[in-house]
């Protein structure tokens, strides 16, 4: 029950996040071209190496919601396919969406849910973990991933692993 609420919450967040990202935040491409001056310090001419690393504020913010209509369309299609019991079709639609936005954590999360529904626990966990590494700042989605990992581990016969994952989810609450 709690999971259902969480899932609902993440869906709500998904629909809520759509527009703010597109208007408010720079696209990855734009953020890249910015000068790396913020990481410089001291005597720049002596130490050219200090240009080496991008400061965190320059790292593009990953899209927490699918930005393109194409991807939204594919997500809807996948949901309909899953509802109709066509798991293969749903997978194919989500993978097609991932080819368009390969670093969209939401899509990896959807695939994780799809695998969980098919009792492919190992895959579900991997996809949720992958989703987690691509998230910046969306705690609800992270929480959902950890919760999903916990359920996958529990069902896959790893109760202690499941406990650890639940703990991670709780920290984010």
């Amino acid at each position: 029950m709690r999971m259902r609420v969480l899932y609902l919450l993440s869906i709500l967040l998904l629909s809520a996040c759509g527009s703010p990202y597109r208007v408010g935040e720079p696209a990855p491409v734009e953020s890249h071209g910015a000068p790396v001056g913020a990481s410089r310090s001291g005597d720049v001419s002596d130490e050219p190496e200090i240009r080496a690393y991008r400061p965190p504020q320059q790292v593009a913010v990953i899209r927490t919601a699918p930005s393109s209509r194409a991807v939204r369309n594919l997500i809807a299609r996948a949901a309909a396919q899953q509802k109709a019991g066509d798991y293969g079709g749903a997978q194919a639609s989500l993978e097609r969406a991932l080819r368009i936005e390969p670093r969209n954590p939401r899509l990896w999360n959807r695939l994780a849910h799809l695998y969980l529904a098919q009792q492919a626990y190992g895959k579900a966990e991997q996809f949720a973990a992958k989703s987690n590494t691509l998230i910046r700042g969306n705690d609800a989605l992270k929480m959902d991933n950890w919760d999903l990992i916990a359920r996958a581990r529990q069902a896959g016969g790893d109760p202690s692993g499941a406990r650890r994952a639940r703990e991670q989810a709780r920290i984010l609450q």
């Binding site: 720049v44 080496a52 209509r69 369309n73």
Partner: protein, 785 residues
């Protein structure tokens, strides 16, 4: 099969001669009762033999009809192009995609498979296509392409479309050893004018006779006599089919008789439509290298790059004229001869009333219209197909692949393949010119994959695109040199309690005695020793000695284990030289290693296939996306930051020339002993790729990784529009200022301070003098402004 039939026929031929001799003898001898009995016996035997022989032929016919007719090779398709607003696309790429699909460029599209362009606006009428997830009906698309992407996408009525895809281009077929290819057409798919053309010149009483047509033979002889050359053939379509099916092409009376007998058998067993369908799929219509072009379906693609049903009258007439001799009338080699023959076909069609004079005239006025080269020859990717074959071989038996008519949907991006092939060739030529290397001496291989999904998007097997042969991308096992350092540093960074990017490592001389008694004393590329250097600098400048010292203190097993976790499958012996890349790997395997890094430690097995459908378009197998975390994401993030530095300031600085000075990309160069192999592996936001440059005879090229493979990587990625990397720091990564020389914690604005990512808790504890003071003084800050 032909050979088998030949050998079986020989004894029969002898029997025939014997029989004739017996009957001659009978007339000369006086009749005797015993002899009569013997003769009756012989006659019965003869009849029995004839019956048996007919049965044998009948069996042959059945086997041919029901077996070989369906030997359809597996068709291999590229990825379909997804179209949606925001999709990266240039008008140039779109034109290329449409061209390889065989769509016709017209002023105003009216039918399917046609397109037009006005500036940045395209109108495209697609073909219907059965994808693995359902049928896509023909679409009438309007799209605008500008600034490198699709800016609008609507249907003919202006309604917005979210996402559609073009059908995938066919990129090859996996056909049986005897190199016969087929695109099966059904009877109902045969255009009327094709059937009419066939009747007109090959067998006008086809629907009336029973397999053999004596009147047809007489008429053909007469017609040919009057025309002074071969205008019509005397063989019926059925006879021609039998000839193609079973018999060899030697001219002999016995063969003719056999042919006639079998034609009669075929006609008694099968209907006219079945015979026509078999004929249309069997007839030999040309040769494409070592591949025979059989049937009108394949011939339409081979000569016009369009499916049979899209051909117009003059094009169909040309195909029918090839029945007489695919090589003799080869329209690419003998255009005049082919044109003459085609017009003769049209004339015959008019004479028999199939077409009127005006249509005949119009069609005769058309040029031949064949494409410059056969489609599959022009757009064939033997290197990539080889990879597809190998991956399929895990799941299918060879005979299934070559007789079941499978449809195989792959990950190949034809545009990417095209751009990469062109730039690899041009890049090699440029290197040879500038370095005064004998032209054509260098070889190269390249693999491009999607970093997150592991889909192989392009594979360059060698310098000459489209030529099959040694597949360097898959099979050239060469030592990887410094590319292996990524595994050494990753193994170190996976132990944050011991190593961070700021940890000082010793770049000092190493002398080792190996178990076999050999001495090993590696050197730096510049033959200098650099003393204690920060770990990230050692990788950035590819210091060999620092790497060996680091690797030895980590333990060789840890490094070998890391190579395996990154995706190396073959066993690697834990010799110290492994630290400097004495591991022979193919470019494909290297790409797997760097894919795992590019994907933040999530290995996605490189694959070339997405879906397989059976001959009835039913999904047979999906190859879903697989990912598995094999390395800690935080360690990979640190390594990636270091590999970005390699490009910005280290051995791969040269990439700036192609991608711009501040372009965000990660990579590593590799060079082997005596400059035999030049490597580069790298990744941006949407592609991970490996380039190898060297010689097939493994002799030195004089090229380091930065002067051979790197410029080619740069050229290709520039042409493809690589996206910047912009990695996401995973949870548990913190940035701190450190002092370069000492490795102490520093502060923003302090002299020589550098901002580095750390696994939280692994940052240095000791603070530099400047940091202890709470940062740089006011004066210094002012100066820095």
């Amino acid at each position: 099969m032909t050979r088998g039939a030949k050998s079986r026929r020989k004894p029969a031929a002898r029997k025939k001669t014997t029989r004739r001799k017996t009957s001659t003898r009978r007339r000369r001898t006086t009749p005797r009762r015993g002899l009569r009995h013997a003769l009756i016996g012989l006659a019965v035997l003869g009849l029995l033999l004839l019956g048996g022989y007919s049965l044998y032929l009948s069996h042959q016919v059945r086997v041919a009809f029901e077996g070989k007719r369906w030997a359809v090779p597996a068709r291999v398709y590229a990825r379909p192009l997804d179209l949606y607003e925001g999709a990266e696309l240039s008008p140039q790429q779109l034109r290329y995609e449409l061209q390889i699909l065989g769509y016709r460029h017209v002023r105003r599209p009216a039918g399917s498979a046609q397109w037009s362009q006005a500036g940045s606006r395209f109108v495209i009428h697609t073909r219907a296509f059965r994808f693995w997830d359902g049928e896509q009906a023909p679409l009438k698309l309007r799209l605008s392409v500008s600034g490198g992407s699709v800016t609008s996408l609507t249907d003919a009525r202006g309604r917005h479309l979210d996402i559609v895809r073009l059908e995938p281009a066919e990129i090859g077929s996996i056909y049986p050893a005897h190199r016969e290819d087929r695109v099966l057409v059904r009877r109902e798919d045969l255009p009327d004018h094709l059937v009419q053309a066939l009747l007109a010149v090959e067998d006008r009483r086809f629907f009336e006779h029973h397999g053999v047509d004596p009147r047809g033979i007489a008429r053909a002889m007469w017609a040919n006599l009057r025309a002074g050359g071969v205008v019509e053939g005397g063989s019926t379509l059925t006879q021609q089919l039998v000839k193609n099916f079973i018999l060899d092409s030697r001219r002999s009376l016995w063969r003719k008789l056999n042919e006639a007998l079998m034609a009669l058998i075929v006609e008694s067993r099968y209907g006219k439509d079945e015979i026509l369908e078999a004929y249309a799929n069997e007839i030999f219509l040309g040769q494409d290298g070592e591949r025979a072009i059989h049937g009108f379906g394949l011939a339409a693609l081979f000569y016009f790059n369009r499916p049979l049903k899209e051909l117009r009258l003059h094009e169909t007439a040309l195909l029918v004229s090839l029945v007489k001799g695919g090589s003799y009338y080869n329209p690419r080699r003998h255009p005049k001869r082919a044109l003459k023959r085609r017009n003769l076909v049209l004339q015959q069609m008019q004479k028999l009333g199939f077409i009127n004079a005006a249509s005949a005239r119009r069609a005769q006025a058309q040029p031949l219209g064949v494409t410059a080269r056969g489609r599959l020859q022009q757009h064939r990717y033997p290197g990539f197909i080889q990879l597809v074959r190998r991956q399929l071989a895990r799941d299918y038996r060879p005979e299934d692949l070559t007789s079941e008519g499978l449809q195989i949907f792959t990950t190949l991006d034809p545009w990417e393949q095209h751009v990469a092939a062109r730039n690899v060739a041009a890049g090699l030529a440029a290197i040879e010119k500038s370095r005064r290397i004998q032209r054509g001496l260098l070889q190269a291989a390249m693999v491009i994959a999607s970093p997150q999904g592991g889909e192989v998007r392009a594979l360059i097997a060698g310098r000459r695109a489209g030529v099959s042969g040694f597949n360097r991308a898959l099979d050239a096992q060469r030592p990887v040199g410094s590319l292996a350092k990524a595994a050494v540093y990753l193994a170190a960074l996976s132990q944050p309690a011991r190593y961070s990017l700021a940890t000082l490592v010793d770049d000092k001389a190493v002398r080792l005695e190996l178990p076999n008694g050999d001495r090993w004393a590696p050197q730096n590329f510049d033959h200098r020793v650099h003393g204690r250097v920060p770990l990230h600098q050692a990788l950035t400048h590819s210091y060999n000695l620092a790497t060996v010292n680091l690797g030895l203190s980590l333990g060789l097993d840890a490094v070998v284990d890391m190579l395996h976790r990154l995706g190396v499958q073959k066993p690697v012996k834990p010799y110290p030289s492994v630290l400097l890349g004495a591991v022979p790997l193919a470019p494909f395997e290297v790409t797997q290693v760097y894919q795992t890094i590019a994907a933040g430690g999530f290995r996605a097995p490189l694959h070339a296939i997405r879906e397989v459908l059976d001959a009835h378009h039913q999904p047979l197998q999906r190859y879903p996306l697989e990912v598995r975390q094999t390395v800690d994401a935080k360690a990979v993030y640190l390594l990636t930051a270091n590999l970005q530095e390699v490009v910005q300031q280290g051995t791969a600085r040269g990439l700036a020339r192609y991608l711009g000075a501040s372009f965000d990309v990660a990579g590593k160069t590799g060079t082997t002993d005596d400059l035999r192999d030049s490597w580069f592996a790298g990744f941006g936001g949407d592609r991970v790729a490996t380039v190898w440059v060297g010689r097939d005879d493994n002799k030195p090229t004089g090229l380091a990784g930065s002067s051979g493979a790197l410029p080619i990587f740069g050229r290709v990625m520039k042409a493809l529009g690589l996206k910047p990397l912009a990695p996401v720091p995973p949870a548990g990564i913190e940035y701190h200022w450190v002092e370069e020389g000492s490795g102490f914690l520093s502060a923003k604005g302090c002299k020589g301070a550098l901002r580095l990512p750390f696994v939280a808790g692994s940052e240095p504890e000791t603070r530099s003098a400047c940091a202890r003071k709470g940062g740089p003084g006011l004066l210094q800050r002012l100066f820095d402004l």
